[in-house]
């Protein structure tokens, strides 16, 4: 891409995909913005007058909004902590030479291939069900009262399910990073007097930092919009205990049929996601340089 000519040609060649992507993004965004300024309720057909910021003030002053923000953050941070810590430990474990390594690796990666709706249903009905679930049986076997996960700790249960799904992703990325760590470097550290913990802290962790950054960035994007797991388990309840921003927008537009407020919520969600993204890039994006 050195000459003027080749640069112009390059721009021309990538323009179709850029235009397509822009259209793909801008048209829905424009429509959402447009709807968010209308009074547009599917239960009251007729005129859709322009109402200015009314939808926004309605959405932002809704007590469910604050709960949803807190829940969204808890969900994202909770899952990130569990998957990054768990993924690092699993990656170290899987990096050791052991018998049946190939099969174990496939088993660890398997949850990633289960679609979110299915995995949430499996967890809900087969593991966490207070009557028939595996955990309930286990509790009974130990003589404890069964724990009703989705009633007593709905958000924590969802964090658990989502973590289970994303753990393989984190493990996989961190494992490949582990494998690129030069073993002579670890041996040099060992000869320099670094014990296992020091070697982890001073050699392995800095080496993994870039991979951890990638895991955090990618997962955050997906975790901000967790939806299926909530829909099939708790429906955002009890109350608003497990409602995140995505689910709240859904509830506004498709349960209360208020498209205008739903759109306003969508726009708020976009803004918040961008704030989080800028924040993240500032904080850890520098790990990706060099």
């Amino acid at each position: 891409m050195a000459t003027q000519h080749s640069r112009a040609a390059a721009r021309l060649m990538i323009s179709p995909s850029v235009i397509l992507l822009l259209g793909w993004m801008l048209i829905p965004l424009g429509l959402t913005l447009y709807f968010s300024f209308l009074r547009y309720n599917l239960l009251m057909p007729g005129a859709n007058p322009f109402v200015g910021w009314e939808n926004y003030s309605y959405f932002l002053s809704d007590p469910a909004f604050k709960a949803a923000i807190v829940n969204t953050l808890l969900l994202v941070v909770g899952v990130l902590v569990i998957t990054v810590v768990g993924g690092t430990l699993l990656a170290i474990l899987l990096d050791q030479a052991m018998w049946g390594q190939g099969i174990v690796r496939i088993l660890v990666i398997a949850p990633f291939f289960v679609m979110p709706t299915v995995s949430a249903l499996v967890w809900k009905n087969m593991f966490m069900n207070p009557v028939n679930g595996l955990f309930a049986h286990l509790a009974k076997f130990l003589g404890l009262p069964p724990f009703d996960f989705f009633a007593a700790a709905p958000l924590a249960s969802i964090i658990g399910i989502v973590s289970w799904q994303w753990l393989p992703f984190a493990t996989l990325i961190l494992l490949t990073a582990m494998q690129s760590l030069d073993s002579e470097r670890l041996e040099a550290a060992e000869m320099d007097g670094a014990g296992p913990l020091s070697r982890f802290w001073y050699m392995v962790l800095p080496h993994l930092s870039r991979a951890i950054t990638v895991v955090i960035l990618i997962q955050t994007i997906f975790l901000l919009s967790v939806f299926a797991e909530i829909l099939v388990t708790t429906n955002g309840g009890p109350g608003n205990a497990s409602t995140n921003l995505t689910y709240l927008v859904y509830a506004e537009s498709l349960l209360r049929f208020d498209v205008g407020t739903g759109s306003a919520g969508g726009v708020v969600a976009i803004i918040l996601a961008n704030i989080v993204a800028i924040f993240l890039m500032r904080m850890i994006g520098k790990n990706l340089d060099a």
């Binding site: 030069d182 470097r185 040099a188 550290a189 000869m191 930092s209």
Partner: protein, 333 residues
């Protein structure tokens, strides 16, 4: 400080015995070079001494103390790896300070030692850089710096110069020799390059397939190689080895003669041949001379200014007092 004894040390990877039982003593303050062709087990032997591999049997003693089961960190040995194994995410200063930090030294003491090592190794201007911003020779020095700040009982070097270009290699060779003169610490140096071995060692250990072929000073090995392998391995250009009739005439299975112990002459001599390729080094010229009935050419040293041309007829006369004779087992007679 720094006397290392190997007693019947043996190493096998699974069924493959890489080091058959081997005895060796490295005296305090010695510069010992392990030399041998690639894959002969030099690195493995070094790693056994370092403690990075477990011995299959036998005993390693450091200063009289049994170190066979000591972890690497407890052996007071410092190693310089072929790949340097620097810590890329740390500055040069932190790299060199790392062993001190692990030993729990306070910051002031760390700084003092790091700066001392840096000035010895001409690294003072680079202390705040990362290894990725240094040249090969500088990285090599950082690796050495990281080793010397620990004040170990012995240094272990595994082919430390093989990633450098020829000119740098000669320079670093001198620097390492200088360092040994100054520190007087035991050094064990592994290389496949016999020139490095000859120029640096107090004592050379020639290895082949894990066996020690000969131990001795560079000149001992050069003057009296114990067998054909050592004769052919030590010295550059290589010793000329002759089998068959010429050897039988001198009551040997194989005879060896170094290039400098052959006198070329245009009109009379013991062997007659034709001149092949000539290597002009300025001070010396090495001629390859083809003798009838011999596949490999003989290498002959002549002065810098000799007018012999490709295809010329030539006579060679070996200096009979400098002839090496070997029996059918390849051992020196």
């Amino acid at each position: 400080m720094g006397r290392i004894t190997l007693d019947k040390v043996r190493k096998a990877f699974g069924d493959v015995e890489v080091i058959p039982p081997l005895d060796l003593t490295i005296e305090e303050g010695e510069f010992v070079v392990f030399v041998g062709p690639s894959g002969c087990g030099k690195s493995t032997l070094l790693r056994l001494i370092a403690g990075l591999e477990d011995v299959s049997s036998g005993e390693i003693r450091i200063d009289g103390q049994n170190a066979t089961d000591l972890p690497p960190a407890k052996r007071r040995l410092a190693m310089v790896f072929q790949s340097y194994a620097l810590y890329p995410h740390m500055t040069v200063r932190k790299n060199i300070a790392f062993p001190l930090k692990m030993a729990g030294l306070d910051q002031a003491a760390q700084d003092k030692k790091v700066e001392g090592a840096a000035s010895v190794l001409n690294l003072t201007d680079y202390l705040e850089r990362r290894p990725g911003q240094l040249s090969g020779g500088q990285r090599q020095r950082v690796a050495i710096g990281r080793a010397i700040v620990r004040e170990p009982a012995a240094f272990l070097f595994d082919e430390p110069l093989s990633n450098l270009d020829a000119a740098l290699r000669v320079g670093m060779r001198m620097e390492i020799s200088e360092l040994h003169e100054r520190l007087k610490t035991t050094m064990i140096y592994v290389t496949h390059d016999q020139v490095e071995a000859m120029t640096m060692a107090d004592k050379i250990v020639v290895l082949r397939a894990g066996n020690i072929e000969q131990v001795g000073s560079p000149l001992e090995l050069y003057r009296a190689p114990r067998n054909v392998f050592v004769a052919g391995f030590i010295g550059s250009p290589k010793m000329n080895l002759i089998d068959g009739e010429e050897a039988a005439k001198r009551n040997a299975h194989t005879i060896g003669i170094r290039p400098e112990h052959i006198t070329p002459s245009p009109d009379a001599g013991t062997w007659e041949g034709t001149v092949g390729v000539a290597e002009h080094l300025g001070s010396d010229t090495f001629f390859h001379v083809h003798l009838p009935g011999r596949e490999e050419p003989m290498t002959v040293r002549a002065g810098g200014e000799v007018s012999l041309h490709h295809g010329d007829k030539i006579f060679l006369t070996p200096d009979e007092t400098q002839l090496h004779r070997f029996d059918a087992q390849g051992l020196r007679i």
